[in-house]
């Protein structure tokens, strides 16, 4: 049985924040869960997926976050408890649905989880999604620990049903990826079957209906504020004259800093967990008891601005600060020492900085950037594109996935990246206003996510570029989740259809479509050249399974290769392909047989044909 299904309330379990959240949902009787995978939220859905295999939970990897939210919204409006999970930028995709869903509300509980990523450990920006709660007028919750992350999910479902509104549940990477001991609670049996009662004058958002619904939304927001005033998740401690308001992980750093600086007797800490709407009365009462207030929150001054507005309403003139050049930044994530230092600065107490070691005589350590795996089919495709475009001036818009790593030298395949699916749309713009050859890259899952509308646009408006779809048969970057193009039968998964990328591309009317097998180097280069010569939209689908996934499935792999005596040290293999299976020993190129996946690409490009397969058992 899945460990998160264990029915043993009171048991202590070591859980990752994301596991705790999934457990919280199970304890709350969640019946429908949807997502598009994205770090740092991915383990929540991974656990949902596993749990759905052995319980009544309906879970799906939807094609994108907007669809995921729509599926969950309908389930919740049929009275079924639902959860929709995404990373922060996924909320941008789902925002169209979110904004008007806030007008409609829900019947069964709906919790929308956004996992923000301060410092951008694995994201293209560090936007602060707390503003979505303000923008949509929805209640928002933010946990500070794994235990709270679990418990708060249950509160979120209850709150959602009480208000008949979706609840935004906001985490940051350090909540998702921290592990703590969590005490389990009871599991509610999920109600999996719902019913939708027709009520078009409340559900069909034509202007006349929406004008009424907006009034209701604001009423619900007022009710939410009264709940926020009495919520156990908004609490304070201490009774000194200095005030600190904090949320999420910042609360942990503040708690430790107050202890380290020995100022517990001088400060009051207000921890905000129900952070939209903010508890106006509680905060105002708190301000009245303080000489000065420091707001500690990663990201934007979301609470700081609100608190300053509250002070203005009350005519309070005490100093309230947070983001300031000598205090906190809007940039990156915080840490205990940084918060300790800012507290010391603001409240003018001494702080002994940690006596770190002198690093001035430490030699430069070679970087260890993540790279495409040994034998990765993307490397082969990029190599073929580089060969096919030799001598051409190109612009290569790229997209979000493992293949983004191809922008690094020596492949240098990737010139422009903004968001999921943008490789296709931006190709339209680049090809219109420049004379350079535009050749863009998108992965299979990203193509399904948001690449298709761009491609239809390109065909209809008769743009001129080549799109390479890197089809490795799985959503690789986030840990091998399935998508509509995955052959689910091959994974022994029942109940799924299969959507062919090639058929979609042809069906939208792309006039030049070719399919290549990137491990066949010469043929691939020829096909790409042909596509590049076509005037108009051409698509090359490069099909080869993810080598890391093949390893995970314990699929038989090709024989490892070695560099034979014939090698004349051209080093094309290293300088143009840069597969991490290569290494240099005694100034000669060698191949690590444990890393080599036997893709044969280096053997095909070696000018001396010096790279040969190892004999069996070698």
């Amino acid at each position: 049985m899945h460990k998160l299904l264990a029915a043993n309330p009171g048991q202590k379990m070591l859980l990752l924040g994301n596991e705790a959240i999934a457990r919280g949902a199970i304890e709350s009787g969640v019946a429908v869960a949807t997502t598009y995978p994205g770090t740092p939220s991915s383990e929540i859905s991974l656990n949902f997926f596993q749990i759905s295999q052995e319980s009544d939970l309906y879970f799906e990897y939807s094609t994108n976050e907007k669809v995921a939210l729509e599926v969950a919204a309908a389930a919740a409006n049929s009275g079924v408890r639902s959860m929709c999970v995404m990373k922060h930028v996924g909320m941008n995709v789902a925002a169209d649905a979110l904004m008007t869903l806030a007008y409609l509300g829900v019947k069964g509980g709906l919790v929308i989880l956004t996992a923000d990523d301060p410092f951008m450990f694995s994201s293209q920006n560090e936007q602060d999604n707390r503003y979505y709660s303000k923008l949509a007028g929805l209640p928002m919750l933010e946990p500070s620990s794994a235990q709270e992350a679990k418990d708060m999910v249950a509160f979120a479902f209850d709150l959602s049903e009480k208000l008949q509104q979706p609840v935004i549940y906001r985490t940051t990477t350090r909540i998702n990826h921290s592990t703590e001991v969590v005490v389990l609670g009871d599991i509610q049996t999920p109600i999996t079957q719902g019913d939708f009662i027709k009520d078009p004058f409340n559900y069909v958002t034509v202007p006349a209906v929406s004008r009424n619904l907006h009034v209701k939304l604001l009423e619900k927001l007022e009710t939410a504020e009264t709940i926020s005033e009495t919520s156990e998740y908004n609490f304070f401690s201490g009774d000194g004259p200095w005030g600190i308001v904090c949320n999420g992980v910042s609360y942990n750093y503040v708690s430790d800093a107050v202890k380290d600086l020995d100022i517990a007797h001088k400060v009051k800490i207000f921890r905000v967990g129900f952070s939209h709407p903010m508890p106006r009365v509680l905060i105002k009462d708190f301000l009245k008891e303080c000489e000065k207030v420091l707001v500690v929150e990663e990201g934007e001054p979301f609470m700081e601005e609100t608190i300053k507005a509250f002070a203005q309403e009350e005519g309070l003139t005490l100093p309230i600060n947070g983001k300031r050049n000598d205090l906190f930044s809007r940039l990156y994530e915080y840490n205990p020492a940084l918060v300790r230092q800012c507290l010391a600065t603001y409240f003018d107490v001494t702080c002994k900085p940690a006596a770190g070691v002198n690093l001035s005589d430490v030699p430069e350590i070679p970087q260890r950037p993540p790279s495409l795996c040994a034998g990765c089919s993307h490397r082969a495709t990029f190599y073929a594109v580089n060969k096919a475009t030799e001598g051409m001036e190109t612009i290569c818009p790229t997209d979000i996935g493992c293949y983004t790593l191809g922008f690094m030298p020596p492949l240098s395949a990737g010139d422009f990246l903004i968001c999921m699916g943008a490789s296709v749309g931006t190709s339209c713009g680049f090809s219109k206003v420049t004379d350079k050859k535009v050749i863009s890259f998108i992965g299979d899952s990203t193509f399904f996510h948001s690449g298709i509308p761009g491609l239809i646009n390109a065909v209809f408006n008769n743009h001129n570029f080549t799109l390479v779809i890197l089809d490795n048969g799985i959503t690789a970057m986030t840990g091998h989740q399935h998508h509509p193009g995955v052959d689910m039968k091959a994974l022994s998964m029942e109940g799924y259809a299969h959507v062919s990328i090639e058929e979609i591309v042809k069906a939208v009317g792309v006039p030049h479509v070719s399919v290549i097998r990137p491990y066949r180097v010469k043929k691939s280069i020829e096909s790409i050249k042909e596509a590049l010569n076509f005037k108009g939209v051409s698509v090359v689908i490069s099909k080869e399974g993810c080598t890391l996934f093949a390893k995970a499935l314990k699929k038989p792999r090709g024989r490892s290769f070695f560099v034979s005596e014939k090698c004349k040290d051209h080093r094309d293999c290293i300088n143009e392909l840069a597969c991490p299976a290569f290494f240099i020993e005694d100034n000669r190129v060698k191949i690590d047989p444990a890393l080599c996946s036997g893709c044969t690409v280096c053997a095909q490009i070696c000018p001396e044909h010096a790279i040969l397969p190892l004999k069996d058992d070698a």
């Binding site: 202590k12 379990m13 070591l14 770090t39 450990f121 694995s122 500070s144 620990s145 990477t173 350090r174 990826h177 921290s178 592990t179 703590e180 001991v181 992980v249 609360y251 942990n252 750093y253 708690s255 430790d256 840490n335 205990p336 020492a337 940084l338 900085p353 940690a354 006596a355 770190g356 070691v357 002198n358 690093l359 005589d361 430490v362 030699p363 430069e364 350590i365 070679p366 970087q367 260890r368 950037p369 993540p370 790279s371 495409l372 795996c373 493992c402 790593l405 020596p410 890391l548 290293i574 300088n575 840069a578 991490p580 290569f582 290494f583 240099i584």
Partner: protein, 198 residues
């Protein structure tokens, strides 16, 4: 209980996360307060994996520069890279078997000399325990048990509030059954290697 702060750095695939899990489960068994955090965004694609483990009453799950009490490095150049987490009282345990990053192969970096690396760390910290964990892992029966060798060495130092017995119990119950014997052997080899070095 005053906090004890432990950082583990490794290259993706070296089993850092399993070692951290065993430590966390041991703390749970021994009723020692523990909070951990890990960054492993692109671990499977050759990047660095860093775990921070805080024992005691602290709420934070991460460790600021200069504030680690113990640093365990699964790869020597990564141990050196993580020296910013250390102070003059930090105890450092490192594997001496290098995994040179690909940047070295393409000539955009020079792998640090292992003797220089050791003397640098020794000079700046309280103690360095350096061992060829890879050789000991192979001796135990599987090169993949480097993590258990280093875990053994870590426990031997007595710098974290976990006993050898508790950790062995966690290895027995929380690592894959087929590997338990091997993992325990690797743990013992690391433990005794560290006791000879200490």
């Amino acid at each position: 209980m005053n906090p004890t702060r432990l950082i583990i750095v490794a290259v993706g695939g070296q089993g850092n996360l399993l070692a951290s899990k065993v430590i966390g489960e041991s703390a749970l068994l021994a009723d020692v307060p523990v909070r951990m955090s890990e960054i492993h965004g692109m671990a499977q694609r050759g990047g660095v994996v860093e775990s921070s483990i805080v024992f005691g009453t602290a709420r934070s799950t991460i460790i600021s520069d200069g504030e680690a009490d113990v640093l365990v490095g699964f790869e020597p150049s990564e141990t050196l890279r993580a020296l910013n987490k250390c102070n003059s009282n930090t105890v450092v345990i490192t594997n001496l078997a290098p995994l040179p990053p690909f940047t070295v192969a393409v000539g955009s970096g020079i792998y640090p000399d292992l003797d220089v690396l050791q003397s640098l760390i020794k000079a700046k910290t309280a103690n360095l325990i350096a061992l060829d964990a890879e050789a000991l892992a192979i001796e135990a029966g599987n090169v993949l048990s480097v993590n258990m060798v280093l875990l053994g060495a870590l426990i031997q130092t007595g710098k974290i509030p976990l006993s050898s017995e508790t950790v062995k119990e966690a290895i027995k119950t929380k690592t894959k059954k087929a590997f338990v014997e091997l993992n325990l052997k690797a743990f013992e080899l690391g433990f005794s290697a560290a006791s000879q070095l200490g």
